[in-house]
Each structure stands twice: as C-alpha cells, then as structure tokens.
C-alpha cells in the first residue's frame, strides 16, 4: 500500500459582530432576533431599486484580521458581484470580492506547523433557509434577518498536513478573531463555518493532486478533525485501486462516523464576476493601514511570549489560560498581584490549569492568590520562605550578582546551590530558579 500525504486547505467564514449589516443600516443580530424577518430593509431584502453602501467598520476589521495574520493589504480594492440563483440570495448575486481581496499572503502559526493564508476577503451573508413540512407540503422557510450580515472569508494554501493540524488551525483562527473582538464565532449558530478541501498525493510528490473533495456544513472542530481523518482513509482506498476520487462536496455523519456525498461538482461554477457598479472602489494609504495596525490588541502569540519572559509561564499552561481573552485578562491581573506578593506566577498558572484551587473567572485576584498561597503552604516550602532566603544569598554575594548582570550567567548555578543549602530542604529547583530570577530582576531595578 502506497504512503500518501494529506493536501488540505481550509476556507473559513466568520460573521463580524458589527452593529449594522454590511451594506445597509439594518440591525446585525440574526441569532437573537425574536422573530424572523424583522431586521430587513429594501437593500437586504433585494427590493427593486435597493442600493448597497459599505460598512466602514467591517472593512477596518477585515484589515485588522489581515494584519493579525501577517497579510499584505491591497491598497486598491473593490467589491465584485458573484452571480448565482438561490432562494437565500435576495438579489440573485452576492456582493463579495474576487480579484482584489482586502488581504493576501499571510500566515498563521500552529503547534503543528505554519499555515499560509492565501487571501482574506469581505462579503455579505445570505438569508437563512429552514426545511419544513407546512400543510403537508415540503417547503423551505426563509428568514432574511441574516441577509447581508458582514462575512469575512479566510482561505489558506493547501498547507494542512494532518487532521489534528486542521483542528489546531481552526482553533487558532477562532482565538484570533475573538481576541480582536470582531467576531463571536458561535459554531452552533453558524457564526463561524468551516470548509476543507481534501486530497491526497503520494509521499514525496510535490505536484498538487488533480482532484479535491470539499468538506462542508461541518460545525465543530472535532467533527472536522474526524471528517478529514476519514476522508484520508477513504481516498487512500480509492487511489489504491487506481481510481481518482470524484470532485464532490461531502458532509460528516457523526452517528455513522463517515463522510457522505452531498453534491457532485462537474465544472466550476460560472459566477460571472464583475466589479459592482453600485459601489465605488476602495483606496487606502499606508497611513490608513498603519493606524489600524497601531490599534491591534495584543494577540495570543504575543501574549504567550510575553508571559514567558515576564512571568515564566510554560507554553502548555499559557495555551490553556489564553484560550479566551476574558480569562487571559483575569489571569494577568492575578500574575501581576502574585509578583508583588512574592508568589510565583508559574505556581498560580499550575494551580489554575490543574484545577488545584476552587475559583472561577471574575473572582477577585486577592481571593485567588490567597487560595494559591494556601496550597503552597502545604508544600514543603512556601514562596515567601524561598524569597527570603534568596534575598539573603544575593545580599551576601554582591560580586556574583554584578558578574551575572555583566553576562556571566554561569554564576547562577552557585547562587542556586547556596540557596538550596540555606533552605536545607528538598525544594523544587524550578521554584528556586524562578525566585532567583525574579529577585535578580528586582535587584537590577533597585539599582
């Protein structure tokens, strides 16, 4: 049996949480609307004479996302019409972007490897279709509350090399969207939608395969991971028998644990893209982009790196604690407080992640810290004790400290030894090391 490698690219759509829709001033709140069709107007309902006017904030947020993903920004951009017919598309075309997307050529780092971002563009969402039986007839019910909500589409190069890589990519992307505070990404409601293009090639081959299967309508990361894994097997079997898998769209049936065919695609659709004559083009200056760049909040990668240097937090703990922006903000307050109280932030992180203390987000930092201290007091040595001893050691060896500051980091070992000796107990070396580092920093500041 041949060894195959996965060739996978992803397309993710996320609804932006602007106050109003993309091309009109209707309220953007499709998920919490009390009734269907209450947030519509001549524009998003596709009435005769309806004309679009673009939402400035949605454009800025898309650029923000692009900058967060290290993309280049097209200084000249515009909107195009994508023409096709479907009941959830009121104008018979979707306003999207074709050849001048707002952002392109970026990348997203994950623990399983970098994923290059081919493009990010802005478009409008369609209405929502529901299938039901009414008066004995099979019908589709349409709700236009969602019509024309701003939608950002992120397309990657086929850089994803494993199912777990696909999952990691999606998680990281969602995390960034939430850190930027531009999308809620509620998977169940469809606030974030995942699509994967999956194909296989022989190991060692560099050309792209001649076919690809599209995985669609999968609304969880876990399902996506499973679906990609399943597809790899399914396609491998076919290829082994000398057949080429057909171009088609497949969904995931979790109950059966398999993908299934939804639609066979023979040719690519002819969307007859052309620049939307109702929307003047966009033209940004370098200053415009720099301004948006300067307003970027701290992103997960930067945050984790900073926690490493400032608080000595291990990646595996940082990963968990920075998953949600609100959690990270809360935890940071506790770290800051911890430092002033001579408690190691690393200890706090450990306690939180391993659920050693019973606290919840929003609890006062002082409360949390007290719980952590309590914990460490049942250990052999408290941070406070170590801190005391370390300070004595440093005071006794000013020359060594100077040497360390001058770059002779080898003396650190001696300082470690001295401290442990003085403590006279079996202490966690990492605790000691961390405390010495903190004290050295403080020492530096005192100077």
């Amino acid at each position: 049996m041949t060894a195959y490698q996965l060739v996978c690219g992803m397309e993710v759509h996320a609804e932006l949480k602007t106050a109003s829709k993309m091309f009109c001033g209707c309220k953007n709140d499709p998920f919490h609307a009390a009734q269907p069709n209450i947030y519509t107007c001549p524009v998003c309902l596709g009435m005769p004479g309806g004309l679009p006017v673009a939402n400035k904030k949605a454009i800025e947020w898309t650029i923000k996302l692009g900058l967060a993903l290290n993309c280049k920004i097209h200084l000249f951009s515009h909107f195009d019409r994508k023409n096709y017919f479907y009941p959830d598309l009121p104008k018979g075309y979707q306003i999207s972007q074709y050849d001048q997307p707002l952002c392109y050529d970026g990348n997203l780092e994950t623990e399983y490897g970098t994923v290059r971002i081919r493009r990010i563009h802005l478009e409008e969402d369609t209405a929502k279709l529901q299938h039901k039986t009414v008066n004995g007839k099979q019908v589709s019910l349409i709700d236009f509350n969602r019509s024309s909500v701003p939608l950002v589409e992120v397309v990657t190069e086929p850089d994803i090399i494993s199912p777990v890589h696909a999952k990691a990519y999606c998680k990281s992307l969602r995390q960034i969207l939430r850190f930027l505070d531009i999308a809620d990404c509620d998977m169940e409601q469809g606030g974030m939608r995942l699509e994967a293009n999956v194909s296989l090639r022989s190991a060692g081959q560099t050309e792209l395969p001649s076919y690809k299967t599209e995985l669609k309508n999968i609304n969880s990361f876990r399902f996506m991971e499973k679906a990609v894994a399943y597809e790899m097997e399914r396609q491998a079997h076919e290829l082994d028998t000398g057949q080429t898998p057909i171009q088609e769209t497949r969904g995931w049936n979790d109950a059966k644990g398999e993908t299934f065919s939804q639609r066979v695609k023979e040719d690519a659709e002819d969307y007859r893209y052309f620049p939307d004559p109702d929307l003047p083009p966009l033209h940004f200056t370098e200053e415009d982009i720099n301004k948006i760049d300067s307003e970027l909040p701290e992103l997960p990668a930067q945050l984790k790196a900073r926690w490493r240097t400032a608080y000595d937090i291990e990646p595996k703990y940082a990963e968990v604690l920075t998953e949600e922006k609100e959690t990270a903000e809360w935890v940071e307050h506790i770290f800051a407080l911890a430092k002033t109280q001579h408690v190691l932030p690393a200890t706090v992180a450990n306690a939180l992640v391993n659920k050693k203390i019973a606290v919840q987000i929003g609890d006062a930092p002082s409360t949390v810290l007290a719980a952590v201290v309590q914990l460490s007091q049942t250990d052999d040595v408290s941070d406070a004790q170590i801190s005391e001893v370390v300070q004595i050691v440093l005071a006794e060896n000013p020359a060594l400290v100077e040497q360390y500051m001058a770059g002779k980091t080898q003396v650190f070992g001696f300082l470690m030894g001295q401290t442990q000796k003085k403590l006279g107990k079996k202490v966690n070396p990492q605790q000691v090391r961390a405390m010495i580092e903190i004290q050295l920093q403080l020492y530096n500041h005192k100077k």
Partner: protein, 461 residues
C-alpha cells in the same frame, strides 16, 4: 384647460390665487378621460386630490406630477411596465419621489415605459404601447415614453423620467418636450428599478426649460443611500434660466453621420439663433457614435442581467416566466457577455472603449463650452417600428449614447416642428459633468428665441 399650464405658471397662479387646486385637478381628470386612449398611465393615484389639498405651504403647492413607473412609490403600485411586478406595492419611496413629495408635489400616477426601461419606443411595455400625443399613429419614443406623452398631452404639469442611454432625451425629442438628463450621480438612483447601474439617471421631463430647472433643484443632490451619488453641492439651477450665452463656444457634432443628410437642412438653420445671441458656433469632429452602440449594448445588458436577477417571485412579484421577450433577450445576452471566457472579450473591452469616449469628450470640452447635436436621427417613428430589429433602440439612440455612457449631462429641446405630421425634431445640448446650469442657460435661450416650444407658442399645440 388649467392642466395645460407650465409648472412655473401653475405655481405662480396658485400663489396668486388665480386658480385653485380643486379646479386644476378637475380639469386634469377631464383630460385624463378624454385622452385615455393614449395609454399614458399604468396606475393612477386615486388619492391625488386628497394628497394635493394638504400641500398648502410647500414649494410645489400640490401640483400634479407624472412619475415613470420604474420609481418605487410607497403604497402605489409599481410595475416597471412588466407583469413580473403586476401586483407589487412598494413599502418605501425612492429618494426622488420622497423629495418630490417633501416639496409638495403630488403623484398623479405611474407612467408607461418600455418594460424594465429596455427600449426606445414604449412598445415593449407589457401594458400596451403609449401613443404619441402629437400624432397617435406614431410612437412616443422610450423608455420614458409615458412621461414624455403625459407632458405633451398636458396630462400632468411636469413629469419624472429616467435615462440609461437616451430614455429621457429621445422620447422628449419625439414628443416635442424638454427632457433633462443630469450628470450621472447628480440625482439619486435609490428606489429606481436598476437598469444599467453605471449609467442610470433620473431626471425631469417638462414643458419648458425653466420647469426642468425648478424640478431639478428639488430632486438633485447627494443621497447617503446611493453610494454613486455625488457629494458635490448642487447649483440653484433656476439661476441659470435667463442667463446670457454671449461668448460661449458651441461645437456641433455628429452632423456627418450617414442617414442624417435629409435632416441637415432642417437642423442647421436652427443654429443661427446661437450666433445671434452672441455665442460662437462651429462644427467639430467627435468619435464615431456607432462605436458607442457596442459599448452601451454590452455594458447595459451585462449590468441588467445581474440587476434583474432579484426578480424571482419569492419576496414579491411573479416568477421569471413572466418576463417579456425583450427582457429575456437582454438578460440572456448580458449573461453571455459576462460569462467565463467571454467577459474579457466583451465587458472589459466595452469599459475600455468607454474610456476612449470619455477622453474624446474631454478633448472637445477643452475647446468648446457646449456641444450640440440632433437628439434623434429622425422624427418619431410609426407604431410597430420597434419590432423590426433586436437592436432598434440602440440604433435610434446612437447620437445620445456616447453622452450617456460617459455620464455627461444633456438637455433635449424641441428644435423643429413639421406642421403636416405635427411631429418634432429635438436638439441635444451637452456640457461637461456637473455643468447642468450651462446647458440650462443655452437650452433656455434657444427655447425663448425660437418658435418650437408648444407652450410658449400656443398656436402650435
């Protein structure tokens, strides 16, 4: 009949209490009955008298205005003369009709047009053709044929139309009225059934040039609902009425076009009045307007194929099987010109040729302040003429298509009357973008110093 007054005169007489709204509408109703056979209106606003009574302290005092049936009017049926919209009652107003109402104008009803504004005859309307009031064996032109006929027959005090490539000026020429196509972006398109988004212009069709200026004052100007509407402030167009045209350089174009030979003898003498008024008249060479036909055809059909995609009968109206032949042709041709493999050959190419026309006019306007030509290559054609060719409209509008695709403003004024047929020729007066005022001054001067305007020269009616 009081409804034969111009807008300006009606307003004056209403202000001076020389006539009342009730009297005016009574005469109008009588005329509507008499001339029902012209088939000018698709829908009448039966509330018109009530609406008018409430406009006492407004600029337009409740005067009756005809509105082309491609403007969405709140609670008043809007069909675009197509049975696809046979039962469509808009729940909102177009910006233009909103402004008209705010100014105190009252909508008499919705006038007939070529279905979806596709045409230059009003014969493709799915509600029957409109007849030319000057001579009912002839067509009124199109697509705003209903509005032009309404004005010509005094079935309104003034009217609104729209032009994509001739649809205001050509029916105005054929019906012997004034028709003003503003600069593209001068008047909001919001709420007007889209045809070719990049050239559609709503505008006034009126009895005199000063009426058109007055109407333009109230409907023009930036609209936040239309991203292509201009942010540049509007002029007071009535200030241009009566202004001297001394010293203006006027370029006469398209006189060398094949087939215009017979008209030359009728048209050229009309230019003398400009010289008499102190302007300087000269012949000029412009890019061949035949080349604009291809551009317009492709741009219009491409954009319309997309603009008419929303009519699927789900949210309003009837399904797509209700489209008439002309609409089907245009949608399908536009689909073709945009399709994969052909878009570059057609749509992209058309946009490049459009650039050539823009540059050509820029060149001409470096020398001339105003350009004039015949509006239409002939008098109003006979009924049935539009069925002769699938390209009827485009060829009829050839002389005005270049200014439409480039966004220039232009006014049609009657410039000759044939007393045997009672039909008219029209002159198209063009200026650079945003210079409607200058066009108004020239058109107004011509109108006042020649015998062709039916309302200033009653015996011609």
């Amino acid at each position: 009949m009081l409804n034969s007054l111009t807008l300006t005169d009606t307003l004056q007489k209403l202000k001076n209490k020389e006539l009342s709204i009730a009297e005016l509408y009574a005469d109008l109703r009588a005329s509507l009955k008499v001339h029902a056979d012209l088939n000018v209106y698709v829908t009448l606003n039966e509330q018109m008298e009530n609406d008018a009574e409430q406009q006492a302290n407004t600029p337009f005092l409740g005067v009756p205005i005809a509105v082309k049936d491609n403007f969405c009017t709140q609670n008043l049926r809007t069909t675009a003369s197509s049975t696809v919209l046979d039962n469509f009652i808009p729940q909102f107003d177009s910006t233009v009709t909103k402004r008209l109402k705010k100014a105190g104008g009252v909508i008499i009803g919705k006038t007939n047009l070529d279905a979806w504004a596709h045409g230059s005859s009003t014969e493709t309307s799915q509600y029957g053709r409109t007849l030319n009031p000057r001579n009912p064996e002839h067509l009124p032109g199109g697509s705003s044929g209903g509005s032009a006929a309404a004005v010509a027959a005094d079935l309104c005090i003034a009217a609104l139309g729209s032009e994509t490539a001739g649809s205001i000026r050509q029916p105005s020429a054929w019906c012997g009225t004034v028709g003003l196509k503003p600069t593209y972006g001068r008047v909001s398109r919001y709420g007007v059934v889209s045809m070719a988004s990049s050239t559609d212009c709503p505008g006034p069709i009126t009895k005199t040039v000063e009426d058109a200026a007055l109407l333009l004052n109230h409907i023009a100007g930036n609209d936040p609902y239309d991203a292509t509407s201009s942010p540049t402030p509007i002029d007071d167009y009535t200030a241009a009425v009566g202004a001297s045209i001394k010293g203006l350089k006027i370029g006469v174009i398209y006189m060398d076009i094949e087939g215009l030979a017979t008209l030359k003898g009728l048209f050229e003498p009309q230019l003398k009045v400009f010289e008499e008024l102190g302007a300087h008249v000269e012949y000029a060479q412009a890019m061949d307007p035949h080349q604009a036909v291809g551009v317009y055809t492709v741009v219009q059909r491409s954009e319309v194929s997309s603009n008419l995609a929303r009519y699927d009968g789900i949210r309003y109206g009837n399904d797509r099987s209700f489209f008439g032949t002309e609409a089907k042709r245009r949608i399908m041709l536009g689909t073709y010109t945009l399709s994969k493999g052909y878009a570059d050959q057609y749509y992209l190419l058309a946009q490049k040729v459009r650039t050539l026309f823009i540059e050509d006019y820029k060149r001409l306007f470096r020398t001339y302040d105003v350009l004039v030509s015949l509006t239409s290559p002939g008098f109003a054609k006979k009924i049935g003429a539009s069925e002769a060719s699938a390209m009827f409209g485009e060829l009829e509008d050839m002389l005005i298509e270049p200014s439409s695709i480039t966004g220039l403003p232009g006014i049609n004024v009657p410039c000759y009357h044939d007393s045997t047929t009672n039909l008219y020729l029209g002159m198209n007066i063009m200026t650079p973008m945003w210079h409607e005022s200058r066009a108004i001054s020239v058109a107004d001067a011509f109108e006042k110093h020649t015998p062709w305007n039916a309302w200033r020269n009653r015996k011609r009616v």
